[in-house]
Symmetry: C2
Subunit: 672 residues, 2 copies
């Protein structure tokens, strides 16, 4: 539909949509950076969506049963900021719009979760939003099954661009959503045929409609500028029994005389002259950042449109039993249940008493077997390695279209899609997701794992087969740099527990934090219980602690994690047998150790003794504790990996790469 | 087709295929680990492919014009080892087959490039092989356009499983190949409906044929066990004007009475009894690892089948002019041209003389403008950030179906697919690929970047916008941990050059190595030339060097990389003005510095002065040089990032995060 027709036949709609466009042009111009073309192209879609379909109440952005609106094409951030300002979200003032992309403003360059109520997830890295949205929709299905449609019944709406759809992660999301028949997931594709480099045809010939249909999606199309056609398409999209793609044919930079339908509208300000010319074409005769009162009032009415529905919902919530309501609220806010601590303690106690010898991946399964019954909000899963990651405990059931109460997800071979879906579940609320693959395939999920950390979302990554201990599958499957990768990432807890006890403690921390994702690096191979004396206290919470003290004069400190703690303990035996007093420090979480008070760290790592760290991985994260924290180069050594692994049985690999108790003891003696 | 029919009507074929199956079962059993089901399922496909279609000569595995055979489903490694043994590849002896997955054997758990002639690329991490294969096919097109179809005219054959097709990277590969109309790329899909967790239907409903067709592929189907139908399908697949998917309907673990068509056949030995029962069904009455002479002879004849074609090709090669032949051989072996050194030197000299002030991404473009004309084998590209990464120099032309001589690729928004395609190009030979995205999106390409390092493939990653200096796009686009990630990865050169001169030196190293991938971390913002005195010598080759010496007594050493070298130089000015003798060490490549002799490192980093490192990233990789290398905790400090960035103009961010010359000088003074 052309602008003349819109101005003439749909003037109310047009002026509302132009308010979005004008704000986007003005804010990008003021910031001298940003992406005006996408908000200008999708303003009509967004206006109809917010005016007629999206269930929301701007005065209650955290209303649990609101529809979720996810701007996967996050570079078009001014679209969402304009919508939130216009509909009356309290935090998003005109001042914030004017400060778009400036230090301290909540209106960041890309939408950042936690800055702005109404931004449901951080987007910008392309494809993440659409993949998060699968998790949102899964969480909604799970909660609806558990609490009933009277209190949980909402839709997840996504705006995705060609960039989102070209990223591989989108295929994982599309495949997963299609298999799961997520009928309340609706993706609006901003089909504007332009990417940063130019026309899409320069890099892609994909028929997106056919592609989505191939994975079981319903496909609807519309003229993305015609409000009547948009309304028809969105109406058709609702109530589907499978996820829906709405192909919205739009013009990037709609109305800009020189830049519409060109890459020039994508990522740069239009310039004052072009803005002026565009506004003239719109019939928008207002200064920068000015939205006439009548139009603002109309938008504010849209923002208040959901108030009645929310009040009714609150009535239905009030009708729930107090216990059920409290449980709903606990799960939505990610609060840990009271029974968790006791469940963890019981696992620890039994392991310390029985001296259980299992792989830590098995230990993780044992912990989950105790935790899952007391945390109905956990949803586990694996990227097609269920029997290896051991994420599925006995009574979880499988989450499928026929069994929304199931709590284990067969994610398929989709590590990135799994991680992003987990983020979406946490962000939705009501679900504590954990998902497994091999630690090495952190590589495939990095994009989403980083966003867990950046958003402060406590997704739990169950990363088994965490070293050359994986054995015969060889170096493609053996992580050596991945612990360093996780530890280099801010706001990420990298746990590498040594036995059942530390595994239980790590899980307790991972399931109680509301702000930090956890990576559990777990062994394939069996490990002895090293925490032989039961403590109610969670020692892993200190990150590192004295596991075994030197007898007599302390001349050496051995530091280790995970499967190498056993090696350190054996090395201690060798050294003590020669009269060399040796302390062993288990370091299951460097980040938590580094966060301890100096006095504690000094007690654990006093100056004086030689230090040897042992970990079947690269040294990079260890220098801090070997050379720093009162250490010194002349009295420190590392036993670990210098390059990639190899294909052979695990024991042979440990021997060939020199990660043995004998090698550790020899290093100590060479330093004394 | 069932086994009874095969045994009766196609007994020659059947026995050859059963030789593969028997070896796969026996080797996995002997190793007590591995994946027998896939080789058993794809043996018929592979037999027909090798017998009738694949252009190869087992006695000359490096024949430049051979067809490439890529086992993307790398877990089925015994398929390729069996084929190579049976057809007579010299290295793959029966002894090696018997030592499958053992220490020192070339028959690693997954096929490892460089271990075995005939293994064209390392596979195992799913989806990599199919994505590599796009690069192989692109390299073939490029070389054919440049050297003519008389000497370059071959096909890339791929075996991919459901795992490969579920990974997101496959969509990037499919989309890129479809757009590029790579008619000589043929993917055989092992459509066996089983993954590790069970039936594919548990995790996917995708109609793969429709999906590939949606991206412009030709689709052919066949009964993957019927040799006649297979031959028909492979014949149909050849000579296409677009890439081809062959949907091969197969049975995993074909013939195993208890495990056929089940996940049980996927990743475990069948067990002696089941092997015995299966061999009985096959009519294969031979001891483990025994292939009857007649069958081996038939297979060896297949291995020799291409000898005549190769001899003819050698005749055609001989008919080329000596100069053209030499150039072909140089490019195929990745040798750098003689003119490269002079081109690099000229860029360096001019920059040192003119004191050029540009962003290092712009410096990179200047270097490429000098290099590309003397290296016709370079193929640049960008994942839809061409104007930001500055990878396209003036005369490259665009690589498209209509212009195979073009040397810049619009990869689309496909970082992972781009990286994997680059690996494929290097492995094919004749192409030196480089490709760009933002450093932060290393996250999206990690799976393939790790394989560059593991394989020793010199792909070049042009990673611009390498810090908070990116500015307003905010923390989703600002790397802080990515330098640590690259540096933690073995066999990866992470360059962060400070100016045009170092950028030119980094490029020279990246383009001359034949064994190591390079990451060039380049600034968005302008930087002054700090190498003001021209040196013919490549100082970046030493990794770190003294950029500015202290005047008078040396009391401080500042270390920095990239955009922070300017800050270090300014801090030096501040300190020197106060009489504090300060050396500045530029450290463009930690890996190369660490590889220098101790005596050199000691000259650059002597004991005594305080040390402060400054880099707008996390500290993790720096402890080695701050605390180690004769440093000490009491005399060391770091100025950099502790968490994620923020959205604001770059200068404001540097000030707010305290990465300034003043902050560096203050740290030094606090330590003195």
């Amino acid at each position: 539909m052309d602008i003349a027709t819109l101005r003439e036949k749909h003037s109310d709609h047009w002026m509302k949509a132009c308010a979005i466009r004008a704000l986007a042009m003005d804010a990008v111009q003021a910031a001298n950076s940003g992406h005006p073309g996408m908000p200008m192209g999708m303003a009509d879609m967004a206006t109809v969506l917010f005016e007629k379909h999206l269930k929301f109440d701007a005065s209650a952005p955290k209303w649990a049963d609101r529809d979720r609106f996810i701007l996967s094409a996050g570079h078009g951030s001014m679209l969402i900021y304009a919508l939130l300002y216009l509909t009356g979200y309290e935090d998003v003032t005109l001042e914030q719009i004017k400060n778009f992309r400036q230090w301290g403003a909540i209106t960041a360059g890309h939408p950042e979760y936690g800055h702005v109520a109404g931004v449901e997830t951080t987007t910008g890295p392309l494809g993440q939003g659409i993949a998060n949205s699968v998790g949102f929709a899964m969480a909604e299905e799970s909660l609806r099954a558990r609490f009933g449609a009277k209190v949980v019944d909402h839709t997840t709406w996504v705006i995705a661009g060609d960039g989102c759809l070209m990223e591989g992660i989108s295929q994982e999301a599309i495949g997963l959503a299609g298999m799961q028949k997520l009928g309340k997931l609706i993706v609006l594709w901003d089909n504007n045929s332009i990417s940063i480099d130019g026309p899409i045809s320069m890099s892609d010939v994909t028929d997106q409609r056919a592609r989505f249909a191939a994975s079981g999606w319903k496909v609807v199309s519309c003229d993305g500028h015609d409000p009547v056609d948009i309304d028809r398409a969105l109406t058709e999209a609702k109530g589907s029994d499978r996820p829906v793609l709405v192909d919205c044919k739009t013009h990037i930079g709609f109305g800009s005389p020189k830049k519409q339908d060109s890459a020039g509208a994508h990522g740069s300000p239009l310039g004052p002259d072009e803005i002026k010319a565009t506004k003239a074409i719109y019939g928008w005769d207002h200064d920068a950042f000015v939205v006439p009162e009548a139009i603002l009032t109309a938008w504010r009415a849209i923002g208040a449109r959901g108030a009645a529905a929310r009040a009714e919902w609150e009535g239905r919530m009030a009708a729930l039993s107090p216990a059920k309501r409290a449980e709903f609220e606990r799960q939505m806010s990610l609060g840990a249940p009271k029974k968790l601590a006791a469940a963890i303690r019981a696992v620890k106690k039994e392991a310390s008493e029985k001296l259980t010898k299992v792989a830590t991946r098995k230990a993780s399964e044992m912990v989950l077997a105790a935790v899952n019954p007391v945390m109905p909000e956990t949803i586990g899963g694996s990227a097609d390695l269920t029997g290896s990651n051991l994420t599925k405990t006995a009574d979880l059931g499988i989450f499928t279209p026929a069994n929304r109460k199931g709590r284990h997800v067969h994610y398929g071979i989709r590590e990135h899609g799994m991680a992003a879906a987990m983020n979406g579940m946490v962000l939705h609320g009501g679900v504590r997701p954990y998902g497994g693959t091999f630690l090495c395939f952190t590589d495939y999920a990095r994009g989403a794992m980083r966003l867990s950390a950046l958003m402060g979302v406590p997704s739990v990554y169950v990363m088994t087969h965490d070293s050359i201990g994986l054995g015969e599958d060889g170096p493609t499957h053996q992580p050596v740099e991945h612990l360093a990768i996780c530890r280099a990432t801010p706001n990420t807890w990298t746990f590498r527990p040594a036995d059942v006890v530390e595994t239980a403690e790590a899980w307790e921390l991972a399931l109680t934090t509301t702000t930090t994702p956890s990576v559990l690096a777990l062994s394939r191979q069996n490990l002895p219980t090293v925490r032989t004396a039961h403590t109610a206290k969670n020692l892993t919470a200190q990150g590192g602690y004295v596991l075994a003290e030197a007898t007599g004069k302390r001349r050496a400190i051995l530091m280790a994690t995970g499967s190498e703690v056993e090696i350190a303990m054996k090395a201690r035996d060798l050294l003590e047998a020669e009269g060399i007093g040796t302390r062993v420090v288990s370091m299951p979480c460097m980040e938590l150790f580094a966060a301890q008070p100096e006095a504690y760290r000094k007690r654990v790592l006093p100056a004086g003794p030689v230090r040897v760290a042992v970990e079947a991985a690269v040294r990079q994260p260890w220098d801090r504790f070997l050379l720093g924290e009162r250490g010194s180069e002349k009295k420190a050594a590392f036993v670990g990996m210098e390059g990639f692994g190899a294909s052979a049985p695990a024991e042979r690999l440990y021997a060939e790469f020199g990660i043995t108790a004998e090698a550790v003891a020899a290093k100590v003696k060479a330093l004394l």
